[in-house]
């Protein structure tokens, strides 16, 4: 019986401590980010969709279309075609299709690439109205990037 | 109070209980004792292990199409001792029939329904052997090896 009597004030005290905690939080600063207006910087190892690396010296992609990444991908999202231009020892990439709808960002392709020609990009807001919107042509994106860099 | 490995081994080495009892290296295989019994021996083995305080961990079905056999592997764990016991049993592939464990371990009901879903293995005496994970009217068994889609 005695514990019941004491339980009421002790219980009420626990309610008050709970309210004190929330009140102390009431005056703490806001921790959230107003997303569309403020955005956060992604860390260097952030895994966006993969993209071809622009080799600084040769101003071209290092990819030799060896299709190792195509074979390493668990969900076959990569389609690589290459051609051997005369005057060069190795083949160079002409078409690099990435089907990002099936990609699970596991990084198997990047590890399999012998001439480390691809890396994760840091893009995350990839809205699109159709599935085709997620079929990225990495060669075209590389060309655009080269133009942007040369401006 | 926790049972020891040899206590279980000499239990299973009794007459007609187990086809073979092979202690295994936990670091190499992940379990301490591998007992293979005839389908009839599954329930007594479960009752004996339950009496020793073991709990049923998982039921795995394996489809050995080459040997034309269906295998069922029962995993047991013990809350107080690190022992892991595996009891396996095989039945002909065209009529895979095993007695149910749901009287000893009610938890086996779901495991058996799932194994039935994937392999078509029937568990005699199971109170409610309808599909668990597959749609109610599923008549295909995806994990069978004969090229099920």
């Amino acid at each position: 019986m005695k514990t019941d009597i004491l339980a009421v004030p002790r219980g009420f005290w626990s309610l008050l401590t709970g309210m004190r905690v929330t009140l102390s939080q009431f005056f703490k600063p806001i921790v959230t980010v107003q997303y569309p207006r403020q955005t956060l910087k992604m860390p260097p190892r952030y895994r966006g969709h993969i993209e071809l690396i622009l080799d600084p010296e040769t101003q071209r992609s290092r990819c030799t279309a060896c299709k190792l990444c195509e074979r390493a991908c668990p969900s076959d999202c990569i389609l690589v075609e290459g051609a051997k231009f005369e005057g060069e020892k190795k083949k160079s990439v002409t078409q690099y299709e990435l089907d990002f709808t099936k990609c699970s960002l596991c990084g198997a392709c990047i590890e399999a690439c012998p001439s480390d020609a691809i890396k994760f990009s840091r893009e995350y807001n990839l809205a699109s109205t159709s599935k085709e919107g997620y079929h990225y042509d990495l060669v075209k994106r590389l060309a655009e990037e080269k133009e942007r860099k040369s401006l | 109070m926790s049972p020891t490995l040899d206590q279980i081994r000499e239990h299973f080495s009794g007459p007609g209980l187990a086809l073979s009892v092979t202690p295994t290296e936990h670091a190499a295989k992940g379990y301490h004792l591998d007992v293979s019994v005839a389908p009839a021996g599954i329930v007594p083995a479960a009752q004996a292990l339950y009496a020793l305080g073991f709990g049923l961990d998982a039921i795995t079905g394996v489809d050995w199409i080459a040997q034309n056999e269906m295998e069922v592997v029962y995993d047991y764990f013990h809350p107080a001792s690190p022992l892991r016991i595996v009891v396996r049993s095989r039945a002909p592939r065209d009529n895979p029939e095993f007695p149910t464990l749901s009287d000893v371990f009610p938890g086996a009901r779901w495991h058996e329904r799932e194994t039935h879903d994937f392999f078509g293995i029937r568990f005699a005496g199971h109170p409610n052997l309808i599909p668990l994970l597959l749609p109610e009217d599923a008549d295909y068994h995806p994990l069978r090896k004969e090229g099920a889609p």
Binding site: G18, M19, T22, F26, I30, T32 | -
Partner: protein
């Protein structure tokens, strides 16, 4: 003659004012609640519509109005449509009796408190009506809960009010406030000479008010995780909007009643104001009344964003086994104190 010429117009004007007050309050209390919840949770709360979010209530109302009100097929059409009205009207009528300031009271009935409690209990019928009419399993379960909850919490509330009436001696709300004139130690909350457990009675009154309005730890009616949206599951658009308004009208009513009964209504608590101020006194009184009321409304919001929901049996036990015994004891204690000392 005077009754014909001025009184009906004045009454009509004050009723319209009250309806506007309830409507505006409901809209902006929703914003205050969401902003308050945000601040309690270290986030800004709605701030997209209008600067700082002040247009959010307008957006909410427009959204609710534009939604189509669907009446579920086999439900009881008449009762389904009547429920939202039945839930809102008692709250508004009770506010007609609450004195916002010295002369700012719609109709000063000398049994004001009795009227408030009699209308207050219609609220339960409305939720029962909506639960029953929408023929939805969740709604019926929630309606059953609401009835037993409100019955359980009506009794301690009345006991507490009776304890108070013994010291005030009148049911007229304006009269009660006038008795609490002078310094704030004259407020019933601090009148320990008459009722040594006055703060306890206030806490009990506050808890019962929360339970009556189905708020915070006692939101059994709208227990999302179990009953989806409880008695209002089938209501969409303005149907749900009216229930929402009724909930906030009940909170405002409860808090204003608590202010009137315990914290001296529109009394400033700093002694009598000089007569020379005249008309200003009414406004100052109104300001103090609203300040006290909104402080209590803030506490209601504060309580909601702190505690989980009580279990249904815990709720009933709290009332029958704890609140009623304590309020009976304070009743006894207060009557003994009045008999001996007053």
């Amino acid at each position: 003659m005077s009754l014909l010429s001025t009184e009906p117009l004045r009454l009509l004007a004050s009723l319209l004012l009250i309806i506007a007050f309830v409507g505006l309050n409901a809209a902006y209390l929703v914003l205050a609640e969401r902003k308050g919840a945000g601040r309690f949770q270290n986030r800004p709360g709605p701030n997209e519509a209008g600067y700082g979010g002040w247009l959010q209530p307008v957006a909410d109302v427009l959204k609710l109005i534009s939604k189509q009100i669907m009446v579920p097929p086999e439900s009881d059409r008449l009762l389904f449509r009547m429920a939202p009205l039945v839930v809102l009207t008692p709250a508004m009528m009770c506010l007609a009796v609450v004195p916002f300031s010295d002369t700012l009271v719609a109709r000063n009935v000398n049994v004001g408190l009795l009227m408030v409690f009699s209308f207050g209990s219609i609220n339960v019928m409305a939720i029962l009506l909506s639960g029953w009419a929408s023929r939805n399993k969740y709604a019926i379960m929630s309606a059953a809960r609401v009835v037993s909850q409100n019955v359980a919490y009506e009794i301690p509330m009345l006991l507490v009010v009776i304890t108070l009436l013994m010291s005030t001696g009148t049911l007229d709300l304006s009269e009660i406030i006038k008795q609490q004139a002078g310094g704030f130690w004259h407020w019933n909350f601090f009148r320990l000479d008459v009722n040594p457990l006055a703060p306890v009675t206030f806490v009990i009154f506050f808890i019962c008010m929360l339970a009556e309005a189905n708020r915070a730890p006692f939101d059994m009616a709208e227990a999302e995780s179990e009953l989806v949206a409880g008695a209002f599951t089938e209501y969409a658009g303005m149907g749900f909007g009216v229930f929402f308004m009724a909930e906030y009208a009940n909170i405002v009513l409860g808090c204003s009643l608590a202010t009137v009964l315990f914290f001296g209504g529109w009394q400033t608590g700093l002694g009598a104001l000089p007569a020379s101020w005249g008309a200003w006194k009414v406004l100052i009184g109104l300001g103090f009344f609203l300040a006290k009321m909104y402080a209590l409304v803030f506490t209601v919001i504060w309580v909601r964003w702190t505690f989980p929901r009580t279990q249904f049996y815990g709720l009933l036990n709290l009332s029958w086994k704890i609140l009623i015994p304590i309020s009976l004891f304070t009743l006894l204690l207060s009557s003994v104190m009045i008999k001996l000392f007053a």
